[in-house]
Amino acid sequence: MKMEEMSLSGLDNSKLEAMAHEIYTDLIDDACLGLCFEVHRAVKCGYFLLDETDPESMKDFEIVDQPGVDIFGQVYNQWKNKECVCPNCNRSIAASRFAPHLEKCLGMGRNSSRIANRRIASSNNMNKSESDQEDNDDINDNDWSYGSEKKAKKRKSDKVFLHSLKQPGFVNPNSPRRSKSIKHKNGELSTGSSDPYKYTYNSGINYETLGPEELRSLLTTQCGVISEHTKKMCTRSLRCPQHTDEQRRTVRVFLLGPSASLPEPEPSVENDSYDPSENQALMSRLQWDGSSDISPSDSASSKTSTNNSESKKTKKKKPHLGLSSGSGSGSGSSQQGLGSSSTKKKKPKLLAPPTPSIYNDIN
């Protein structure tokens, strides 16, 4: 054994290499032999030459390598520009739109029955509540917009409507206000179009097309705030929570001129009750940040607040905390109150007088 070990360690690399090469050659021979057996068997069994074709067929199915054509030689958008004539309505429809059109035209298929049901439901609603024209808008919306079918289903099934305010100017079909909507004129709107092929999207009114008289009448009944994205007036009620009274006032000023009367009969009744709490909230807001974002409303309520500031002085210091905490909760409602009060009164800014009084109170 020792002799072998010595011989092994004494083996130089060339011998190792030779051995390795020999092993390698054996392996290659094995591979070749394997292939020979395979081929021989294929020949004898008759399946060796099966994958051969004659040269003519080879030419027929040759791979095509031209531009504008796929490897089979077919043109890519061959059917894009072709138009088919609908056998039902005899209109010429684009090929890619033909199948959906046929579905609606014949009145078969899932979508068409759904849309028809919705139209029936909405027309029933229209008969029940007059001038609920927003529904019609919504039908047209549903034809047009994605995911509208879910909302329509929900609307039919839920008797309790959920009022969701997620986007400004978005017409929510589930809003309870829609069923008890205020009567308003939508003279210029192309609503009630029963033509299923026209998709009109109207969530509001385009103020440019309306005359001043129509505008005035519209603004007496609707919110009318012009949306940033669509440049259309909001068709919701005067108390629509998506827009503040300040916005409504601005729109009215913008559309009817600075001397326009601001018709807000409803909120004015509540204003009287808001005044004291709103002024306290205002004071505390001035105290917190003194920011100018509520300055226009400052001007309106500051005069009234000066009247109240004296009464404030007589109050104890502890209620300050109460005020601030009250303002925190009341600030949400006070905003509306502020806005509404400002629409009533137009007064110059008087910021200086209130603030010293507040700081006196702190000290």
């Binding site: 092994l8 390698y24 392996l27 032999l33 081929v39």
Partner: protein, 96 residues
């Protein structure tokens, strides 16, 4: 028996016993298919068969024609890798 021959026999025995030879064989086969060696050789077979006539081909004919060509057609990368593996094995197991 010379020591070298004895060594060789031992090594071969070890290769088989440890299953290394089988592994090497599979590896080689896979690599040869991958690099297209098998298809090349099959085309050569077709020529041989056409030469000899489909009915009269024997295994021996094929082997005699194919093996030398097969040996020559192995790509260098495959050869190198296989030799490397074998040498590694030898280095590990040549010292008994």
């Amino acid at each position: 028996m010379s020591k070298e021959a004895q060594m060789r026999a031992t090594i071969n025995q070890k290769l088989i016993e440890m299953g290394e030879r089988e592994r090497l064989k599979e590896l080689l086969r896979a690599k040869l298919i991958e690099c297209g060696w098998k298809d090349q050789l099959k085309a050569h077979c077709k020529d041989v068969i056409r030469e000899k006539g489909l009915e009269h081909v024997t295994v021996e004919d094929l082997v005699a024609e194919i093996t030398p060509k097969g040996r020559a057609l192995v790509p260098d990368s495959v050869k190198k890798e296989l030799l490397q593996r074998i040498k590694t094995f030898l280095a590990q197991h040549a010292t008994l």
